[in-house]
Symmetry: C3
Subunit: 153 residues, 3 copies
């Protein structure tokens, strides 16, 4: 699989690999499992959306933010598999945290932004187990945070 070409066909680009900050890492490998840190919808170092859904961030913008988290996650995985995406076995788990107004109950629709993009990119191996929950607030005021587990050869 040629990830950059696949992304280009979807009008997307792999962002630069995130740098390690502080005492944790963007992603780690443990055996066949790659665990990606909770990704924020950062684009060129800036959050694309902040505040709770839907009062500050409408649903469609939150879905786009979840898509952005996927791209940032793939950028974090890329160096752990030497950019050889044929080594990806499958997406295993996606955990979606949505900064939510207290009455917002469509976190699953926000999460679909991430899930559907993974399926568009990887096909059947892109389908995964998932948890989506509401939270009152996230680091830096992000509207969405998404963490990932991948299985790789």
């Amino acid at each position: 699989m040629n990830l950059p070409a696949k992304l280009e066909s979807l009008g997307l680009t792999l962002p630069p690999a995130p740098k390690a900050v502080a005492a944790y890492l963007p992603a780690i490998r443990s055996g066949e499992m790659i665990i990606v840190s909770g990704q924020l919808p950062l684009e060129d170092g800036q959050l694309t959306v902040t505040g709770p859904v839907p009062s500050s961030t409408p649903l469609d913008a939150a879905q786009n933010a979840a898509r952005r988290c996927v791209l940032n996650a793939l950028a974090a995985v890329d160096p752990l598999i030497d950019s050889d995406w044929s080594r990806l076995v499958r997406v295993a788990r996606v955990g979606v945290f949505v900064a939510s107004d207290p009455t917002f109950t469509e976190q699953h629709l926000v999460a679909n932004g991430a899930s559907e993009l993974l399926f568009e990119i990887f096909g059947e191996p892109g389908r995964h187990a998932r948890a989506a929950v509401g939270v009152p607030c996230l680091p830096l005021g992000a509207s969405v945070e998404v963490e990932f587990m991948f299985e790789a050869r």
Copy 2:
């Protein structure tokens, strides 16, 4: 182990396996690990309880909801092990999200609904690592969402 018989002895029934919806799956297998998506307390397609604990959903109803999430999770695992529960090695992790009033601090008691049922069903291999936290709101307004990891042969 005969899961349906064991459940029947507890007055319970394995629900139908959940169907895959959208771009994610009810459960996936990666090596020895089975990861189950966050389960809501759905019964015949309807949420049994909605809203925060305890103002909308009393503690005992939330505990029952957590038990229901366990049954739904087992239904999701069942096809991944060809209904052969002797292949289950252990329950590995349970993650419990409780829609909570801001002052509710007994999420662990809600989670016990899930943990104790797993122990009743599976005995010692049913004991697991666990995280239980409060959240303001969950998909579809559910009072409880529970995700799972199992180890299987």
Copy 3:
């Protein structure tokens, strides 16, 4: 690696191993993976801090609480590796839940309390994938809950 000596050099002490309570366990082992239950900042059975950050618990106290959760996690792992910390391959994942005022957006700084201590103790293998999120409330009113995955031989 001599964990007690390393902790002593940092002015810290390994707490007693937590006892199993109810139907779940402080930590489990599944293959190479050790999963630690969500740890609260308990010290001698008492929560060190309670309530949301920062109105009830200032940032630095929350960071200290996250450090305490690390010590409690290590105490939970210790019996699973027969106190032989040379069997630890790496810290794999840290999940940090911070009881947060609705406008608090520095959960990552709270989480750094845990991450930096793991790095101080274990060096490079102490660096991990991480998710940090805000929640409205936690079991027993704790200000912080931290869960962990370790890889061990």
